[in-house]
C-alpha cells in the first residue's frame, strides 16, 4: 500500500489528512489525486522525503506527502 499524507487544505482533495491506496503498477501522482489547476505550482510533493512532482511515478510502499507552499505566520 502507498501511504498519502495531505497537509492543510490539500486534505480536502484526498478526503482526509491521510489515506492508503493500493498501487499495482507504477502510476503518476496526478492520476490518483485530482487537484485544481490553480494549485499546480503552489504545492510541494515529497515521495519518501525526496522532492517530486505530480508527474512522478509512485509504487506500493511509497510514502507521499502533499503540502501547500505557505509563507509562515
Amino acid at each position: 500500500m502507498a501511504f498519502i499524507r495531505a497537509l492543510g487544505y490539500l486534505a480536502e482533495y484526498i478526503g482526509g489528512r491521510s489515506m492508503k491506496i493500493r498501487v499495482d503498477k507504477p502510476v503518476k501522482i496526478r492520476d490518483i489525486i485530482k487537484l485544481p489547476l490553480d494549485l499546480e505550482g503552489r504545492i510541494i510533493i515529497l515521495v519518501d522525503g525526496q522532492p517530486s512532482t505530480l508527474d512522478s511515478l509512485i509504487v506500493d510502499s511509497d510514502r507521499i506527502v502533499l503540502m501547500p507552499i505557505i509563507s509562515g505566520g
Partner: protein, 610 residues
Amino acid sequence: MKGWTGKFLRVDVSERRCKVENYDENLALNFIGGRGFAVKLLWDELPIGVEPFSPQNKLIFAAGPLTGLPIASSGKMVVASKSPLTGGYGDGNVGTMASVHMRRAGYDALILEGVSEKPVYIYVEDDKVEIRNASDLWGLSTFEAERKLRENVGSDCGILVIGPGGENLVKFATIISQEGRSGGRPGMGAVMGSKKVKAVVFKGTGEIPVADMDELMKLGRMGYESIRKASGYDFWIRQGTMMTVEWCQENSTLPTYNFREGVFDFAENVNGYAMEKVKIKRRGCPYCNMQCGNVIEDAEGRSSELDYENVTMLSSNIGVGDIRKVGVLNRICDEMGIDTISSGNVIGFIMEASEKGLVNEKIEWGDFEKAKELLYDISYRRGIGNLLAEGVRKISRKLGEGSERWAMHVKGLEISAYDCHAAPGMALAFGTSPIGAHHKDAWVISWEISIGRFKYDDIKVDKVLEFQRIRGGMFESLVTCRLPWIELGFNLDWYVKFFKAATGVNLSLKDFFEVGDRIYSLIRAFWIREYKGDWNREMDTPPTRWFEEPLTKGPLAGKKLDKKLWNELLSKYYERRGWDERGVPRKSTLKKFGLDFTIPILEKYVKLEE
C-alpha cells in the same frame, strides 16, 4: 503627489510641539514608504550611537502609498526605531485601523520624538493634534487602555497602545492594537514607553489622494474576488496560519524545547485542528478578506487571538501541549504588550538554563503556571523577570557557562518559530534578516523543501534575495500584507497595477526590487554606524546549536547544519548584495543605490571596499 499624502506629522513630547511637514517627492520615489521612509528618517535624524531610550531616539509610524486603500490587505503600518533589544535598526508591521485613519487624517508617517515628563497620549484628528494627559491610562493593560480610550474618543478611530511591558522598558515590548494585533518585536513598545507615550489615537475623516480612483476600485474588487475564488481559501478562513503547526511538525521544523528539536510529541494538541475545536470567531486587519486572526476561548474563559508564531513559541518551544493554555499565555503577552515570539524564546532558554543548573530557580519544561508567572514577572521586571526582560542575548552573556551557544537569536533578536537544523536556506534568511532573526522578510523554507532541503546550492541564496526584495522590500514599503501572495497565489503583478492606479507612477517589479535593495543597504549601513564599525559576519550567523547539536528525534534525527558550507552561502549572499566579506556594503553598491551620503559616515568606523 497622488497615492502619497506628501505629509509627515512630527510630535515632540518633550517640547509639547507638533508640526506638519511636506516631504520631497524623491523620498517617495526612492523609498516608497513604510520601512523605506522609516530607515531614511532614522538615518538622517538620529544622532550616531543614540541611546534607544533617550529623547533623541525617534519612533516612526509609517504607512505606504497603498495603505488604507480599498485593495487587498492594505490596513497595515510599519513601526520603527533604533532598537533597545538589538542596538540596530528595528521595525515591525501591525495591522490596525490606525494605519487607515492616519492616512485619512492626511499623514504618511508620524515621527514621535522627545520624552514627556508625565504619561501622555497623542490624539490626532485630521489637522487637530493634541498631547493629552494619560495618567489614568498608565499601568493599564493594552486591552483595558484601549477600551477606556474608546469610551473617551469614540469607536470610529484607530488606536495604538502599549502595556506594562512597554512602560517598564521590556526590551521586546511591542505596540498593540485592537486587542491582539501586535507589532514591533525589537522593542518598539519599550521606545514608546520610554517617551511616556501610552497611546496614539488617529481619527481621519479625509480622503486619501488617489490618481485614478475608478481604476483602483475596479482593481480592488477584482483582486478581492481573485483571492476569494482561489483554491484553499475556505481552509485558510478556517485555520489561517495555524495550519503551519502541522506543516512544521511534518517537516521537523517545529521549534521544540528551545530549538533543540524539530518535532513535538504534543503537536496534535496545538495545531490548526485543535484550534478549530475551541475557535469562537475570526478577526484581523482592515481591508483584508482573508483575515487570519483566530480567536479562541482560552483556558481561563477569555478570548485570545492566535496565529502560528505565538502558538508555537508558547507551546512546543516551552513544552506546553494544550491549545487553551497556550491561548492564556498568548493573551497575557498581548495584554502586557510583550512579544510572543521573544517571550517563548526567553522562557524556553531559561527552562533549559534551569535544567542545566545555571539558575537557582526551578523552571521545568511544560510548566504552564510557571510560564504564566514569568510573563507577568517579565512585564513588571520582577525577580528573574527583570533579567529575562533584557532578551536572550543579554541573559546568556550574564549566565555564561557556554549558554551563548544555545541562546537562540541573531543580532540580538530572538529567532521566530522555525527550526533550521535541516534548513540551511532558512537559516540564511534568519541570519540576514535586517532586524535580526525574523521570518517576515524571507520565509524560504517551503521552496527549500521543494528543491532539496539538505543542499547548499546557489539557488537558495537567490531565493533568499528574491524574497527579501519582495517581502522585505516591496510589501514592507507599499505597505501591504504578504500573505495573499503565497498562501492564495495572488500574483505580484496586482501590486504593480494597484501602485499605478494609486500614484499614477509606473514602476515595474524590477523597480520595486531595486528599491528593496536600496532599503536593505541603508539598513545595513545604519547597523554598522550604530555599532561604530564593530561588525563582522558573525553578526549574520545563526546560533551554534544548529551547527553543533544535531536533532535527536523524528525522521531527521542526526541532522545539523554544516558550518563551512553555510558560510559559503553567506559569502555568496554578500557577493550578490554587493557587500564585502564582513557584510559591509561596498562603496560601489552604496553609490549605485544613491546612498553616497552614507559613505563619509561609514568611513569614520570601517574601511569601505571599492
